[in-house]
């Protein structure tokens, strides 16, 4: 029995904030953000009501970058310290990044349709580079599930996740480096191009999305750990 126990998945980290507290915080923050978006924030002078997509679209995009960054960081921890928990954490973070990335593409396309009259513009570097980043990390799953579970899969996945992180600043800076672009730039080196309730609403929406992503990350991680332990227990009891 002791040999079987030695093979079991490493014990989960002890987190300072419990999962129910995180879920409650997500609910409160997302509700508050929605209330601010629809009842408090003023209409944009240029784009009018449609600008309200901005609050979730941009905050979800930043959250997707954050998730991909976290996935890369955990991949580095896996390769550097050989922490067995880091591989699963990297995988879950990349998965969250892909979910939030798909939301960025959907909300962005809807906003593009109403603002520019097109669902997608291949001439826009920001859009294409984000799609490249999204597809790069979507391919991560094809690589991961084409290799049998074990150290080799963990190492290959970690190296891939780490390479992808290079695309994050490229995607983020593309719009700032492009000379002619119709995609709006709202964050400059001089600070955001808006203030008042628009800034407050954006900040609340950003925090809400980050907390929601972290909650989903923790939920998925807990599920994956329980799944792994159940599989190992099945082998021990077989």
């Amino acid at each position: 029995m002791s040999a079987g126990r030695a093979q079991l998945t490493p014990v989960a980290r002890r987190y300072r904030i419990s999962l129910p507290a995180l879920a409650a915080a997500s609910l409160v923050l997302v509700t508050l953000a929605l209330a601010l978006v629809f009842f408090v924030a003023p209409n944009d002078a240029d784009q009018g009501f449609s600008q309200r997509i901005f609050y979730f679209h941009v905050s979800i995009a930043i959250t997707a970058y954050f998730c991909f960054g976290l996935g890369a960081w955990k991949a580095l921890v896996h390769l550097w310290k050989r922490d067995p928990r880091a591989d699963l954490e990297s995988y879950v973070a990349v998965h969250q990044g892909v979910i939030f990335g798909s939301l960025v593409l959907i909300t962005g396309s809807i906003w593009a349709k109403i603002s520019w009259g097109h669902w997608w513009l291949w001439s826009e570097d920001q859009l294409v580079l984000f799609l490249v980043l999204f597809l790069f990390y979507a391919a991560y799953f094809m690589l991961r599930f084409s290799v049998d579970p074990g150290p080799q899969r963990a190492n290959m996945s970690a190296v891939y996740a780490l390479f992808g992180v290079v695309l994050i600043p490229v995607s983020f800076m593309a719009i700032r480096l492009a000379k002619q672009a119709i995609h709006p730039v709202v964050f400059t080196l001089q600070g955001p191009k808006f203030g008042g309730w628009i800034l407050v609403t954006y900040c609340v929406a950003q925090v809400a999305m980050l907390v929601l992503a972290y909650t989903l990350y923790r939920v998925e991680l807990a599920g994956k750990r329980v799944d792994a332990r159940v599989r190992e227990l099945k082998e021990v009891l077989a």
């Binding site: 906003w111 989903l216 159940v230």
Partner: protein
Amino acid sequence: MTTAETYVTAAYCAVFAIVLVYVLIIALKVQRLEREVDELAGRAAAREAEPEERREAAVVG
């Protein structure tokens, strides 16, 4: 409802729907895990019961 309002509603509904689908997938997974844990508990109980049966058999014999 204006066109702008329709598009904004569609965008926020898409976000809501994807998060809900994600929660549904997690709920299905938890349901499967529950079944598997029940199965494991059954196996463990059967294993615990085994030595007792043997002990009883030895006393009778």
